[in-house]
Amino acid sequence: MLNCVSLTVWLTTALALASAAAFGQSEGAAHHDVVIKNAIVMTVTHGNIANGSIYIKDGKIAAVGETVNAPASATVIDAGGKYLTPGIVDSHSHIALDDDVNEATSPITPHMMMKDAFDYQDKAIYRALAGGVTTSLLLHGSANMIGGQAVVIKHKYGATRDEMLFPNAPRSIKFASGENPKRVYGSRDQLPSTRMGNFAVQRQALVEAQDYMREWDNYNEKVKRGDKDASPPKHDLKLEALADVLRGKIMVQIHIYRSDEMLTEIAMAKEFGYKIRAFHHALEAYKVADQLAANDIAIATFSDWWGYKQEAWDAIPWNATLSMRKGVRVAIKSDSEDYTRRLNQEAAKTMRYGGATEEEALKMITLNPAWIVGVDDRVGSIDVGKDADLVIWNGYPLSSYGVPEKVLIDGDVYFDRSQPGLGTTHYKEGE
């Protein structure tokens, strides 16, 4: 196996890069038919295919197997016996926002749209791409109890802004809890400065949203009944967003550390009738994993970060695997411009801490985060019909050593280690 023994082989192969036909060079060009052959295909959903092939048609995976039927005109990439995985999905990122992460002027800002701050030329996007990341959830920060609405991007560095937005991705909103909101507002002698205050502020906002929703529901009902005198309530962006949370139209992503707060958030979600998609950070999830599993709440956690603040003091590197064994869907995320470049290594740590299998570990940076983002039907595994977001690695990806050689998004190569300059095919330096 490549993972332990043949380091020197890796080093050699790292330098002697397989050369593949260049394609997808010009922006906006029509999708080509592509075949990747001679790869160890790690499908994530149905095991590995040693010496497998993938046929990509119109940016989607059209076939995968030991052999595939593809037209002779298809561009062929010979993976040279290397590993091929789905593109990595980072379900918690704040890159490409030019520091506009927190609108920390009020603890309730659900109407902030991260899309409005999205800086599609930020080189952090291609640095993550060079680490195999193809999709990211860019979230509001954790200063506010209810922050803004996330944007989902594909790391098509060099493409236009709109081409980088994940098409028709579901909406997500960021809630927070614990130390950050109380520190931010407490330091200004404002509410909230305690966890009690945190939850009171959140509940107050949700109560107002209920009223707002009722007013609109009443109005719409009247209109439906043909009431010509019905006058519409005033539009309020803030409450509109929260009403959509209550209507189940926006997925709730909660920044949270302590297990007691997780239980409170679960109770509050039940009180107001919305669902929590995932707890983020969730360093104490292992303490209440049963309850998370029972409520179908995923976690997006770190592999081994700890101790950076009081509420991270009980973090343990077994959190991911202990929670997983209790039936929780677990993602390893970065929350960092740095770690997003090597999430494969972070996932590999779960194999060491708690004995995750290779497939379980890989799932934590592909299919599971895709579920958290709500795009698991489109990306996160190598299955027919999914987007051709793929990474060819120079070595075993779940190790200190594996780094991407080529990264494809929607069937186009967006990163190629053998390319000079930035190593990306769609971007020219100086542009």
Partner: protein
């Protein structure tokens, strides 16, 4: 696909498992090794003389007594023999810059003793005097095979104080502090400018010019200070000599007037700051010269050369254009961290590949975690650097023997060689891979309890009935 080998001790009869269980009963690692311990059957990564398959290592009285192939090493009688067949055995890892013992919870100020920010020039701060031996972070780090580390103050000051070199187990701080004041950081990265504000700046120094001038003045003051003391010592000798002569005179002559007699010279007033700089000015101790980009690097090196300081380089993460210059200095480099983000105009892999680029130019490199909580991840960085061209053996050396050489302890640490301190790690595979699980750590020949706060929490919450 990737399948983990079943550990050699997966059966209950396994001796290592038993010793592991026994080890848990020690609350703190005791000082001296009771009886010889022999590790038999492992793959030994000696670092200094290659790999020995099916090797034997004998640890006695805290030292490595013998290392070699199973066929050639005698097992002393009465030794505790541990079968480590299938395991990889390597020297304890050395982290060349940490804040271990200076912090507990980063965001909680009362748990932090990282840097004294009241002035930029604080050479009289001794990390040894803040080092908290009972820190919960230390067992977490040593569980992954880190047995020794440099403890440095944070880089907020130009001269933030002096480093210590620690061993990650011992009865107390005194025992763990192998070296006090072994080196001193000199930081020139621009981050030390705390009074920035352009036209609005009110306090000196607010610029790099100011920082450099302040630094130069400090070393000049130290030179003057040294001269005063030298002068005093000379006068004292003269005085003693005169006194002796006078005594003789007194004997010879009558009790005459004492008008010729010199008064006893008074010592100069002691100045702790300047005193702390003297061993560095005299080239007796190492300055750790930190810079990031080419300009700061060259400014800092000029300053160091002006005062003939002995130095090693630190970081130089964005100095790729001047690596030949770096090589010409013929000093070791603590490189990175290689996770440092590239600058706007640098390639995505510029910093990743720095260790390999330096190695290619003949520079001795070492790695550091630059961390407290994440010290355990030191080997990951070394492994990752190999993906960008650093030879594997050099990566391992950078966290073992090279580090021991840089810190002047290569006679005791950094390789599996007879005579060295028995800091030895037993793991289930490649030390530089993130997946590798460390099974047992020996520090000075003693089994370190393989537990920490995190293991305890894991076990508590894995119990039946609890969650």
């Amino acid at each position: 696909m990737m399948r983990r080998n079943k550990p050699a001790w997966s059966g209950h009869s396994c001796p290592l498992l038993l010793t592991l269980l026994l080890a848990l009963t020690f609350s703190t690692p005791a000082l001296a090794q009771d009886r010889p311990v022999v590790l038999r059957g492992g793959k030994l990564l000696t670092v200094s003389h290659g790999v020995i398959e099916n090797g034997v290592i004998v640890m006695q009285a805290g030292k490595i007594a013998a290392v070699g192939p199973a066929s050639s090493v005698n097992v002393p009688s009465g030794a505790q023999v541990i079968d480590v067949t299938g395991m990889t055995v390597y020297p304890g890892l050395i982290d060349s810059e940490t804040q271990l013992g200076l912090t507990e919870i980063s965001a909680e100020d009362m748990t932090n003793d990282l840097v004294e920010m009241s002035d930029e020039i604080m050479p009289h701060m001794h990390t040894a005097e803040a080092f908290h031996a009972e820190s919960a972070l230390i067992p977490v780090a040593r569980m992954n095979g880190i047995t020794n580390a440099v403890v440095a103050p944070e880089s907020g000051d130009t001269l933030p104080g002096q480093d210590s070199f620690i061993q990650l187990a011992g009865a107390n701080a005194t025992e763990m502090l192998l070296l006090r004041d072994n080196a001193m950081p000199l930081n020139f990265t621009g981050d030390q400018r705390r009074n920035k504000g352009g036209f609005g700046a009110r306090k000196f120094p607010s610029t790099r010019m100011g920082l450099a001038a302040q630094l130069r003045q400090a070393f000049l003051d130290a030179q003057d200070y040294k001269m005063k003391w030298t002068d005093y010592e000379r006068k004292k000798v003269d005085f003693a000599a005169t006194k002796d002569k006078d005594k003789d005179k007194d004997k010879d002559k009558d009790k005459d007037t004492n008008k010729d007699k010199k008064s006893e010279p008074l010592p100069p007033k002691r100045d702790l700051k300047l005193e702390a700089l003297l061993p560095y000015l005299e080239g007796k101790k190492t300055i750790v010269l930190a810079a990031e980009g080419p300009s700061d690097l060259q400014t800092a090196v000029s300053l160091a050369n002006e005062f003939k300081l002995k130095f090693v380089l630190n970081h130089i993460s964005h100095s790729k254009p001047v690596l030949d210059y770096v090589a010409s200095l013929k000093v070791p480099v603590i490189v990175g961290p290689i996770y440092e983000a590239p600058k706007e105009d640098e390639r995505y892999d510029t910093v990743y590949s720095l260790p390999a680029q330096l190695y290619k130019r003949g520079v001795k490199i070492v790695f550091a975690s630059y961390s407290a909580h994440n010290v355990r991840n030191l080997p990951d960085q070394a492994g990752f650097a190999t993906a960008f061209g650093l030879p594997y053996d050099e990566a391992l050396k950078a966290i073992t023997l090279n580090a021991a050489e840089v810190w002047g302890v290569a006679d005791q640490l950094g390789s599996l060689d007879a005579g060295k301190t028995a800091n030895v790690v037993v793991a289930n595979g490649d030390p530089l891979d993130v997946k590798t699980d460390v099974k047992q750590v020996f520090i000075a020949g003693r089994e370190v309890p393989m537990t920490d706060r995190q293991v305890q929490l894991r076990d508590e919450y894995s119990k039946k009935g609890k969650n």
